[in-house]
Symmetry: C2
Subunit: 246 residues, 2 copies
DNA sequence: TTTTTTGGTTGACGTGGGTCAACGAGCTTG
DNA sequence: CAAGCTCGTTGACCCACGTCAACCAAAAAA
């Protein structure tokens, strides 16, 4: 991932106060004075190789994780083997919040590429948010954002047709790459068609066809995982003016 | 709602320490010593008539709500009018967590029947969870549970067929009625077929047909909103052994 | 380099669930 | 107790997406 280079170069210390991801991550919006106190929060860092699990459903919950470099997917498995990808996470985003409720993780987190996370011991986080003014609020916002995001996915899955789902997905990725200082027009997806399909409630063939359709219509240009959004406004229109209904 | 009678009779004080819903609600698991301090948290109570909004998407976020009596749905609307029901909430459950992230609500909460909620001012909650040991953890668990629940819905929507979705829905309702001291075998749904459909990503006709199918197969007995689960194990089997695949 | 594997594309065909429409059963309102 | 709702059921038809299969490109292994 070309994106990780500047981060790993700058960020050899694991201190939040030194990290260039602050404004995407848990400490967002906290004053510098409080920020330095967060440094004690991030115990260790942990590298996770592509395809490896950061945690699995059922693992005891001890920590949440902030992605320093790389990206992940989270998924839930049914007894009969069906998989539902519940999200894709990028740098600065927090993984593991699902574990708090039952003190065990309820989904799997798998690295989509070689990645690195900051390990945030949960008991320490609890303690520190008692003490630090802004941290508690910030943490609540992170959890709340996750809930809102999930509602958006439910909207996708429950009431959009295939091409609308993919358009929404691409616009979302675009916006998130952009927030990380990358082009919003052009990026490399880290996940396979099958993973996109699982996330969007579609089969990989349907995803592939929708990609091709968008390309024919001049909305995007795709080659494998490389995507260019040629007409983002067109994609947005596709979502809003529902054509066929569902 | 017959269910509400014992609650309204006992609970004329709004104090958490007097409320028989504690073990379903925010204070779950907190020692009595701390529980009494929560009483200051619940400022007012608010009645919401059937079909009325508790809050709307875009409303400034000031409080979260604990359902004292009745039930609600939450939904998200798309510009073109499509609606996605994101959840159904029963007594003891918490509404409004979506508002924390942006300080504005991101969905609508509508009463399915005449209902009553405890208004929990959010700033007070923040303060108090700084002070009270167990409250912070408990609140985090409530939020985390919401995230896990949403992942379950994504599983439903993304990888189950119509009858599996309805079976999962019915079993979930059954379990929640049971947790509230009602029969798990027999209950009255509070929502219409259309609302169930929106929640499950199906059209009302499909929901209706699935109900009829279950009745033909002797799994349930339905008449309008009244449902009896004749063979809960059969419903469970339906979900696990995926027959047609998707 | 060739070989193998994995991921992606495309076509032909089938079907689950959406669409449209008619009708009936409860509620509500006058 | 009609009259007018809203909500639920059922049938006939259809289409978006799933299924199955062949094939190709890229990446990894050898």
């Amino acid at each position: 991932m070309r994106a990780t280079v500047p981060i790993t170069v700058n960020g050899l210390k694991s201190a939040c106060s030194q990290c260039n991801l602050v404004e995407l991550c848990l400490p967002f919006g906290m004053p510098d004075s409080e920020l330095s106190r967060l440094d004690e929060l991030v115990g260790a860092r942990r590298k996770v190789k592509r395809q490896q699990n950061l945690y699995r459903a059922g693992d005891p919950f001890e920590a949440i994780y902030a992605i320093r470099a790389g990206s992940f997917k989270t998924d839930v498995l049914l007894e009969d083997g069906r998989e539902q990808v519940t999200g894709f996470q990028m740098t600065g985003e927090i993984l593991g919040l699902d574990g708090i409720s039952t003190e065990a993780h309820s989904c799997n987190a798998v690295a989509l590429e070689d990645s690195e996370v900051c390990v945030i011991a949960y008991d320490k986080l609890e303690q520190l948010s008692h003490q630090i003014e802004g941290l508690q609020l910030q943490f609540h916002k992170v959890m709340s954002r996750e809930i809102v995001r999930d509602h958006g996915v439910m909207m996708l899955l429950g009431s959009m047709r295939a091409e609308e789902r993919l358009a929404a997905f691409l616009l979302n990725m675009s916006q998130r790459f952009n927030a990380r200082g990358f082009s919003s027009q052009e990026f490399n997806l880290r996940m396979t068609r099958e993973e996109i399909g699982s996330y969007l409630g579609l089969k990989l063939e349907t995803v592939s066809r929708a990609f091709s359709r968008f390309q024919e219509d001049g909305l995007i240009s795709v080659q494998q995982k490389h995507v260019q959004l040629l007409d983002p406004a067109g994609l947005k229109r596709l979502i809003q003016h529902q054509q066929g209904v569902r």
